[in-house]
């Protein structure tokens, strides 16, 4: 690095490079940002805010259920609360927060200057933000969805849900699916085409693999739920009869479509979590991840199998036994790839040199909680047992063990792990331990008793229960546990906010990690890497030789990126990326107007499409050649060093 800075004019070139990649300042400039780090920071903060609101809703439910025959919250509000809680956590927190980490770190980890399609990612963020605002505005107007996060018809049909509440749910799905599809496409393209030279397929970091696999799952799973929710809106808006039993519709059709999305959704949340475990565990074990290939194949096979077991959500509907057995087998066998990953992680720890820091604590907590959730998952795969515990608090316990254990624990680990990279400051190790302790104990106190409650006959989604059922004590324990979790999260917020100003300054690589996001300053500059790196091993910062070449020859006066080949990441061509733009914001605004309008009248689709068309024209208006119209630049192979070659001497960056 120091050698390059001594090149003639290097300092001026870097300054120009940073001006080229800088985002507009000021309030108005805020709406123009397309930098993936800027968008991802917003995505993370917004998703975390939705997580907090969803948590407040959960706390209200725990308050209501803390004692029998409680009259604090009536059924009408309670149904809105649990529906909005589930919808928020699935659609506005779990999936987006993982994608947000992908938006921030995938380009950095593959050594790219930008995410692919940065404006599309900006559009994705605005759709996500507006979707959440739409949901919570409705909630505050007493129009929060109240038909469950799964919205089974006929309960969600106009006959039984005549108000706009079910429409709000269905249209929120559209918002979030548009957002996650856009991000998925950008992430896949980034990983396939923007990897640093030398990052062949078998050197892609495991978190990046997890993001690719997840993005493909998004591409195949989300259309199913968009189809279903659109059909539901059509049923409600223009009297189609997709799910209307009275007119030869079918109530079970919805369940197949919904769970064809809904089960993969669980893996869309868990697979990035497992990617985080691989990254953090490897860093703090100070050795290469054991069984890299096995872990990658596990991720891919989990993604395939994840689409073949949706029926285990429907075992109580009375399907033929032979068909059910197939889905039992599939649901049980999917434990194998997950088991493989867990054994590889244990082997990594077994042969590593472990430093237990705050991020690693969350990974250790992950093992205890996720394995427990996985085992109850095997129980749920068994049809006879499933028919007993399905739709009871046992399942509530199971799903929180899997999702909080499998995704939120690694996620909090990732917050501690990557906070220094994002902000340039360290979080407090001491508060981190307190947070972990409170959350871990609170979590188990909240959710473990729910297994027992379910076995003792407590169904889900009931707003109250009689004293004679004897469920009071365990429910009270669960509510106290929720309080502990809330205290932990509060500590984290205090830590995260105060560390912004008072935290210890972070170095470029405070944990001594091996992947490329640590090869640049904390926080990274607008261009990510003044000189994009090349890669000579799976953990480049550990394994690259000292004379590892860097990419030179990219222009500094435009947003020039290096495009590489899919399989072996050989340099292919240079491409100029678009700069800041207001159009993603305006397009998202126009789309929002159309989406909201269309729940009131079908004409909203017709007239609401016009502003979208106009903003799309603005977005795609071609640039003239003088303005630097986008052309792939031919590359001169002499200026682009190949992996393994000596760094090119001299020349501009």
């Amino acid at each position: 690095m120091s050698e390059r800075l001594e090149l003639p004019h290097a300092a001026e070139d870097i300054a120009l490079l940073e001006r080229t990649w800088a985002e507009p300042r000021g309030f108005a400039g805020w709406f123009f940002h397309v930098d993936h780090k800027s968008i991802a920071r917003r995505y993370l903060v917004t998703a975390f805010v939705y997580f907090l609101i969803g948590g407040v809703l959960a706390a209200l439910m725990r308050l209501q259920l803390s004692r029998p025959d409680n009259a604090l919250i009536g059924p009408d509000l309670y149904n809105q609360i649990f529906t909005t809680h589930g919808t928020t956590m699935m659609f506005l927190f779990a999936v987006p927060v993982m994608q947000a980490l992908g938006i921030y770190f995938v380009p950095l980890m593959v050594g790219a200057r930008s995410i692919a399609f940065p404006r599309l990612v900006a559009f994705s963020y605005w759709m996500f933000l507006f979707g959440g605002i739409f949901l919570y505005t409705s909630f505050l107007l007493n129009a929060g969805p109240d038909v469950g996060w799964f919205a089974y018809p006929p309960l969600s049909e106009a006959l039984y849900a005549p108000s706009r509440r079910a429409d709000v749910w269905a249209q929120l799905i559209t918002f979030t699916e548009v957002a996650s599809l856009a991000t998925a496409i950008s992430l896949i393209t980034t990983v396939f085409k923007l990897r640093a030279p030398g990052m062949t397929l078998n050197r892609i970091p495991l978190f990046v693999w997890a993001q690719v696999v997840t993005s493909f799952m998004v591409l195949f799973a989300m259309p199913a739920v968009m189809l279903a929710s659109t059909a539901l809106i059509l049923d409600r808006l223009v009297n189609t009869h997709f799910f209307d039993v009275e007119h030869a519709g079918d109530a079970l059709l919805w369940q197949h479509l919904f769970w064809f999305f809904g089960h993969p959704e669980v893996y869309i949340i868990f697979i990035p979590g497992s990617g985080l475990v691989s990254m953090i565990l490897t860093t703090f074990s100070r050795r290469r991840t054991f069984g890299y290939l096995a872990i990658v194949l596990s991720l891919v096979s989990t993604a395939f199998m994840g689409f073949g077991l949706w029926v285990h959500h429907m075992f109580a509907t009375g399907l033929p036994q032979l068909g059910e057995s197939f889905f039992t087998a599939a649901s049980i066998i999917i434990a194998v790839p997950t088991g493989i990953q867990i054994f590889c992680w244990i082997a990594t720890m077994w042969s590593g040199r472990i430093h237990v820091k705050a991020p690693m604590l969350w990974i250790l907590g992950f093992f205890a909680i996720f394995i427990c959730g996985g085992l109850t998952g095997v129980m749920l795969a068994a049809v006879p047992l499933n028919t007993q515990v399905h739709d009871t608090f046992f399942v509530v316990a199971h799903l929180h063990y899997v999702l909080i254990g499998g995704a939120v624990f690694p996620l909090f680990g990732a917050f501690y792990y990557w906070y220094p990279k994002i902000t340039g400051r360290m979080l407090s190790e001491r508060l981190g331990r307190w947070f972990f302790g409170l959350f871990f104990i609170g979590f188990n106190l909240t959710f473990f008793p729910m297994h027992v409650l379910g076995l003792h006959g407590m169904p889900r989604r009931i707003y109250t229960y009689p004293t004679v059922m004897g469920w009071g004590a365990l429910n009270l324990a669960a509510s106290i546990g929720a309080l502990l979790m809330a205290c932990g999260v509060l500590l984290f917020i205090v830590d995260a906010v105060s560390a912004l100003y008072a935290g210890e300054i972070a170095t470029a690589n405070p944990w001594g990690a091996g992947t490329l996001e640590w090869a640049t300053s904390s926080p990274p500059p607008g261009s990510n890497f003044p000189c994009p790196p090349t890669v000579g091993g799976r953990e480049p910062l550990w394994e690259n030789p000292p004379d590892q070449p860097v990419v030179i020859g990219l222009r500094t006066d435009v947003r020039d990126v290096l495009v590489t080949h899919v399989l072996d990441a050989e340099p292919d061509h240079r491409l100029e990326f678009p700069g800041p733009s207001i159009w993603p914001f305006l397009t998202a605004m126009a789309t929002t107007v159309m989406f909201v309008w269309s729940i009131f009248t079908p004409w909203g689709v017709v007239y609401g499409s016009l502003p979208i068309f106009i903003t799309m024209v603005g977005w795609f208006w071609p640039k003239s050649a003088e303005e630097g119209g986008t052309q792939p630049w031919p590359i001169h192979h002499r200026t682009l060093p190949q992996p393994g070659e000596a760094p090119a001497a001299g020349g501009a960056i």
Partner: protein
């Protein structure tokens, strides 16, 4: 009272055995795996320099392969146990079975005992009587949204789906009253949609069923007479049926023998005079959102109506 862990039927006992097996396997797997995590952690924390020799990697590889082999073996064993239990639970011994139709409504259960002779058909609500030791077939469906029939001591859930009628069987081996409740979210009063299953010896069951086949008894006293008139002239009869009278309403529970039932409002309140009085006056107070409107009756009228209700045995 309502528990998977206190099985009283053939079905639920098989499932309980499967649960015990799975619990055992899970506890063993959890403990062993977590011990390895802890051991790995301790080794990793104590180590001061990297090993990384090819031979130690090979040893680790063999250990991981062995763990995967053990996982697959355990999972296949559990799969076999699951399918085997599933066959036992699903196989139907149709001969001499009692057939009961269960229809879900927002938020109560319509129960019908079919009979070849239409006049011997029995319709009731929220309370099912069963003979001990005899297979019973439940034919379940729904009139409005999806519900789920679940009596954990006796059998697993079966969804009640409009447009579908499915059959599930059970057999009760131990006398008793077993509570169950709706397990599929079905709207505002999903929490108050319970039922009782009364399992009794064959003779008691036949006696009960015979009683249910009788039309409502004629009122004796003047007050009961007045109560019946109120029932017929007020809106009660528009929704409720009382066999042998002009009340033929089909949208609410059949009240022909309401006084024999143990609860009001699908398990919302115990069936006592004061609770019935509170219920008739304002059903929305204890079960907000249910379909029955409040009935502003004078105190005298209410007492008369209650007297009539109490004689519907």
């Amino acid at each position: 009272m309502q528990s998977v862990l206190a099985p009283a039927g053939t079905q639920s006992s098989s499932i309980y055995s499967l649960w015990s097996l799975m619990l055992l396997a899970s506890v063993v797997v959890f403990t062993v795996t977590l011990l390895f995590v802890i051991a790995g952690l301790i080794r990793g924390v104590r180590r001061t320099r990297n090993e990384g020799s090819p031979s130690s990697e090979r040893t680790l590889g063999r250990a991981v392969a062995a763990a995967i082999g053990a996982t697959v073996t355990i999972l296949i064993a559990l799969l076999v146990a699951s399918v085997w239990t599933g066959r036992r639970v699903a196989s139907l011994h149709a001969s001499s079975a009692v057939t009961i139709e269960v229809t879900g409504h927002q938020w109560w259960w319509e129960i019908a005992y079919d009979d070849a002779v239409p006049s011997r058909r029995v319709t009731t609500a929220n309370e099912i009587h069963l003979p001990l030791g005899r297979p019973v077939v439940l034919k379940v469906t729904s009139r409005d949204v999806i519900h789920s029939f679940w009596a954990p001591n006796l059998l697993g859930k079966r969804d009640l789906i409009p447009g579908y009628t499915t059959a599930v069987w059970l057999q009760v081996d131990r006398p008793g009253v077993f509570r169950g409740q709706c397990a599929e979210f079905c709207g505002l009063q999903h929490a108050h949609m319970a039922f009782d299953i009364v399992a009794e010896p064959e003779a008691d069951f036949e006696r009960w069923l015979d009683g249910m086949r009788q039309p409502a008894s004629e009122p004796h006293g003047a007050i009961e007479q007045r109560g019946r008139d109120l029932f017929m002239t007020n809106r009660c009869a528009g929704c409720h049926a009382v066999t042998g009278t002009a009340a033929h309403g089909q949208v609410a529970p059949d009240l022909t023998h309401v006084a024999t039932r143990s609860a009001i409002g699908a398990g919302t309140l115990p069936n006592t005079r004061e609770h019935m009085q509170a219920w008739i006056k304002d059903p929305q107070a204890s079960k907000p959102g249910n379909q029955m409107p409040a009935n502003p009756l004078s105190a005298d009228d209410l007492q008369a109506l209650l007297a009539y209700m109490e004689m519907l045995r």
